[in-house]
């Protein structure tokens, strides 16, 4: 079974996105919340990190994306949009939840 990691800081503020991609195992799920949602945007200096990470699934919290005025069509391909109920489902589906603060 797999682990869920939450990333809540912008990749332009902290290295947590880079770290979580490096340290998470195959099959991990990574959820972008709060300022972390900037990591889910296509066409940025760090979007290749996400696009090239194999064996991991990426999710982004829709309300936090909307709060920052980021349209869904600006997401990196393959990043799945979830709401808070979807966040709860991810917590239930995975064995452990680690906040990558």
């Amino acid at each position: 079974m797999a682990d869920l990691y939450t990333v809540n800081k912008s990749p332009f503020e902290k290295n947590s996105l880079e770290d979580v991609i490096r340290f998470s195992g195959e099959g991990a799920s990574i959820l972008f919340i709060e300022d972390g949602v900037y990591g889910a945007m296509a066409g940025t200096a760090v979007s290749d990190l996400v696009a090239n990470a194999t064996g991991r699934k990426f999710y982004v919290l829709g309300p936090d994306l909307k709060a920052r005025g980021i349209a869904e069509d600006r997401l990196i391909d393959g990043v799945e949009l979830v709401d808070y109920a979807g966040f709860v489902d991810l917590v239930v589906e995975n064995d452990k939840v680690q906040a990558w603060l």
Partner: protein, 130 residues
């Protein structure tokens, strides 16, 4: 499923209190049990009833209280973190010789053991903070 939530950040700071609240609410609405919400570090500032945000802003403290009343949530403030930040209930006021209390209804002050117990008793622990 039984969930526990930990909040490490004060309200109106960044977004952790909001995220934790919306996550907890969504979990309860989906029928999951939330064993406890534990407020640690600046997170204890979620539990003062003296908070008075502008009228057109969300009242984070009252929102927790309302959720706790609806679902009988256990909202626990870390005692050492609360003492440092001046969050006081009647017991703490008496013990430390303070002239007032400010803890919000439905919140209680207790030890770090409550966090450990919540982690042991629950299937998942979800942490929000900086």
């Amino acid at each position: 499923m039984k969930l526990a939530v930990q909040v490490n950040e004060g309200p109106y700071q960044h977004e952790a209190s909001d995220s934790a609240y919306h996550f907890t609410k969504a979990a309860l609405e989906k029928g999951h049990e939330v064993f406890r919400v534990f407020f640690y570090h600046d997170g204890v500032l979620n539990g003062t009833r003296l908070t008075t945000p502008p009228q057109d802003d969300r009242n984070i403290v009252e929102r927790w209280v309302a959720l706790a009343e609806k679902y009988d949530l256990d909202l626990v403030l870390c005692v050492a973190a609360a003492q440092r930040r001046g969050i006081v209930d009647e017991g703490e006021a008496e013990r430390n010789g303070k002239d007032a209390t400010n803890i919000a209804p439905k919140f209680r002050i207790s030890g770090l053991g409550q966090l450990i117990e919540a982690a042991i008793q629950s299937d998942r622990l979800v942490v929000f903070g900086d």
